[in-house]
């Protein structure tokens, strides 16, 4: 036990914590934009998976990181557009729409991978580009803080920056106000001349950009290649984080950190002689538990308000 504690209170653990929060935080911020606009985007998982492969293939065939980035973002935007069209124009239920995208993504990524590389498991035979790690001058020389905050992947810094960007969008721009009003009461928003559907389109596409970055981080940062079903439920955990953070940027960040903590724990716990499957269960169990505790608090608060 003391080994575990010692590991958790080490700079390496906190560094890793920030590393594993990235692919949860980005889609969770995306989900918060959708939630604020009144759309439950259950397709995050699939969009991440598609953009993870899109980024790798774009890099491999375009021959540069920038081509990979463009392909990954393009894939994410296309998938989001399909989700938006079916949900908003053809009135498909968001849950079914998202599940359909996830099913499609899980099949399409493996089919593409197999067609191009002849393998179904990984893209290791392709030349892959990863986003660079960034050492921040000055900060990297500060003893403890430098080891924690410096030397992360570029996307990780983008994710941290995105917290402020989303905050700015929500509370300081006209678009953010429209997004929130559309989510709060679409009829009222529509009565003052806001195009509800258009605003939701924009929200879903913005979510797509963040989710796509999260997906690309998986295959071009966290790992240096694409592997089958590599997102492993992070899209759903992100949805839970967005709900628990009440779709406010700070709340989403904190709840993402909470879920990522258990993801990081599962890396550390492998030092113990526990069966690996029990450890792998941990992030998912923690999500159920976290969401439950949050909901208990919420229902208590509602009861006090009612009384």
């Amino acid at each position: 036990m003391s080994i575990i504690l010692k590991n958790i209170f080490s700079t390496e653990f906190v560094y890793m914590w920030i590393r594993v929060v990235t692919p949860i935080l980005l889609p969770a911020l995306g989900a918060s934009i959708c939630n604020q606009a009144g759309v439950v985007n259950l397709g995050l998982e699939g969009i991440m998976l598609l953009s993870a492969l899109g980024g790798v293939l774009g890099g491999a065939f375009g021959g540069s990181l920038l081509a990979g980035l463009a392909a990954g973002l393009g894939t994410a935007l296309l998938a989001s557009l399909i989700f938006a069209y079916f949900h908003l124009n053809l009135q498909a239920d968001a849950v079914l729409c998202g599940t359909a995208i996830n099913t499609f993504a899980s099949g399409a990524t493996v089919l593409m991978l197999f067609t191009i590389t002849g393998e179904k498991g990984t893209s290791s035979s392709l030349k892959s580009f990863s986003f660079p790690t960034v050492n921040i001058p000055i900060i990297e020389d500060i003893p403890v803080v430098g080891k924690i905050l410096s030397g992360h992947n570029l996307i990780t810094y983008v994710a941290l920056l995105a917290i402020f960007l989303v905050w700015f969008l929500f509370y300081k721009t006209p678009l953010g106000l429209r997004i929130r009003s559309v989510g709060e009461n679409p009829d009222a928003a529509s009565s003052v001349g806001i195009h509800v559907r258009r605003v939701r389109y924009i929200a879903i596409l913005l979510c797509g950009v963040l989710t796509g970055l999260g997906g690309m981080y998986m295959s071009m940062g966290y790992l240096g290649m694409f592997t089958r079903d590599m997102v492993a439920g992070r899209g759903f955990i992100a949805l839970a984080a967005a709900a628990m953070g009440q779709s406010t940027p700070l709340g989403v960040f904190l709840s993402s950190m909470l879920f990522a903590f258990f993801d990081g724990m599962s890396n550390t716990l492998q030092l113990l002689a526990l069966p690996s499957q029990i450890i792998e269960m941990l992030p998912y169990l923690a999500t159920i538990l976290g969401l439950t505790l949050y909901s208990i608090r919420r229902s208590r608060r509602q009861r006090t308000l009612a009384a």
Binding site: V40, L42, I82, F86, N89, L90, Q91, A92, D93, V95, L96, C97, T99, A100, I101, N102, T103, F104, A105, S106, G107, A108, V110, L111, F114, T115, K120, G233, F236, I237, L239, A240, A243, P275, Q277, I278, E280, M281, Y284, L285, T287, I288, L291, T292, S295, I296, R298, S299
Partner: protein
């Protein structure tokens, strides 16, 4: 034309349109990824009918989907979006494995005990998101999906650490007891007794949903929970009940699949029948009696994709792509909506004109 006929016509055309789109998509994908597209297409569409064994594969593949889609139908019917059919199915197989290996029971009793045990385990797993939703309004969508992951790892843990066949290099359980296996019905195929159970369950579910008191309450709750509440239905109890029964059916499906098709537990990941069950349930359109047909259709696609993967250069994941697209299109309520509207309006106008003419004739 009355409204009923209009709905039937539009629904059939919608289905036809969806199948056509899926067909065109299959052809497009095959032509763009394959070096021998004609061969791939032939294997995909015609392949499943070329031998009795392959036709058997379609039917065997439909059995587990019938169980999971009935489960999905009950859950969605109650207006809940729990995705637990996947986890219930897998825990059902796991429970059946444990009961099959560790109990020594006579032939007829043993599979019954295993299937009931699987059903109980399935209901238990389904109870988690259902009760959390009922008690504290926790979103059942996310908790059920998380539960599916938990179940998957738990099952693999159980096989690896407690029931593993040590002499096998890949992960497999000890041999299941012969007394617990379901008998094969058709020589030369794997069609097993579980299929009969699946069809009986479809009939049972139809009676249950459309002819029983609980079924009525379920339909009212699914349509409008507030209305259900005001007419005195305990709507949250109905929602939980529906999910428990659904979990039980999916769990039984998992047990039947294991005991009918395998002699060891060999899965290394959750097999996905619960997710596929959603497409089957949507295709069957709330009618349990249509489930065997729609399950066979999806099983035909799966079988075709497998045969194509064996005999050509296109991978079997094609099946998932088609399922995703079909799901997306069926879920689209607004598809062909304008046409339906137009037909309804025309019919009403015609009726009005006839009534006016009759009035005029009388005067």
């Amino acid at each position: 034309m009355n409204n009923r006929k209009i709905n039937l016509l539009v629904d059939s055309m919608k289905l036809l349109l969806i199948l056509l789109i899926a067909l065109v998509l299959v052809a497009t994908i095959i032509f763009s990824v394959s070096k021998e597209p004609a061969n791939a297409l032939y294997n995909f569409f015609i392949g499943p009918f070329l031998s009795p064994r392959r036709i058997g594969n379609i039917l065997e593949g439909a059995f587990p989907l019938m169980f999971t889609s009935l489960a999905v139908m009950l859950i969605f019917g109650a207006g809940q979006f729990s995705m637990i059919a996947e986890g219930s199915f897998f825990i059902g197989s796991t429970a059946a494995m444990a009961l099959s290996i560790s109990l020594g029971l006579p032939a007829v009793l043993h599979p019954i005990v295993c299937i009931l045990g699987g059903g109980a385990a399935g209901a238990l797993v389904a109870a988690v998101p259902a009760l959390l939703k009922r008690k504290w309004q926790v979103s059942e969508v996310v908790t059920s999906i998380m539960m599916n992951y938990v179940v998957q790892f738990f099952a693999i843990y159980l096989v690896t650490y407690h029931y593993r066949e040590m002499s096998s290099s890949s992960l497999a359980s000890l041999k299941l007891a012969d007394t617990s296996l379901l008998p094969k019905l058709v020589h030369g195929t794997n069609i097993h007794l579980g299929g009969v159970l699946a069809i009986l369950l479809c009939v049972f579910c139809w009676f249950f949903i459309y002819r029983s008191k609980f079924g009525f309450q379920l339909r009212v709750t699914g349509c409008n929970p507030r209305f259900a509440h005001y007419v005195g239905i305990r709507e949250s109890g109905v929602m939980v009940g529906a999910q428990l029964i659904a979990g039980c059916i999916a769990g039984m499906g998992g047990s039947v699949e294991l005991l009918g098709m395998y002699n060891r537990f060999k899965w290394t990941a959750s097999p996905g029948y619960g997710w596929t069950g959603i497409v089957v349930a949507l295709l069957a359109k709330d009618n349990p009696l249509m489930v065997p047909l729609s399950a066979c259709f999806i099983a035909y696609i799966n079988t075709g994709a497998n045969i194509m993967a064996m005999n050509s250069d296109v991978s079997s994941e094609m099946a998932q792509i088609i399922q995703g697209v079909i799901m997306l299109l069926i879920a689209s309520g607004a598809l062909l909506h304008r046409w339906r509207q137009k037909l309804v309006v025309e019919a009403a106008q015609k009726e009005q004109a006839q009534a006016a003419a009759a009035e005029a004739a009388r005067a």
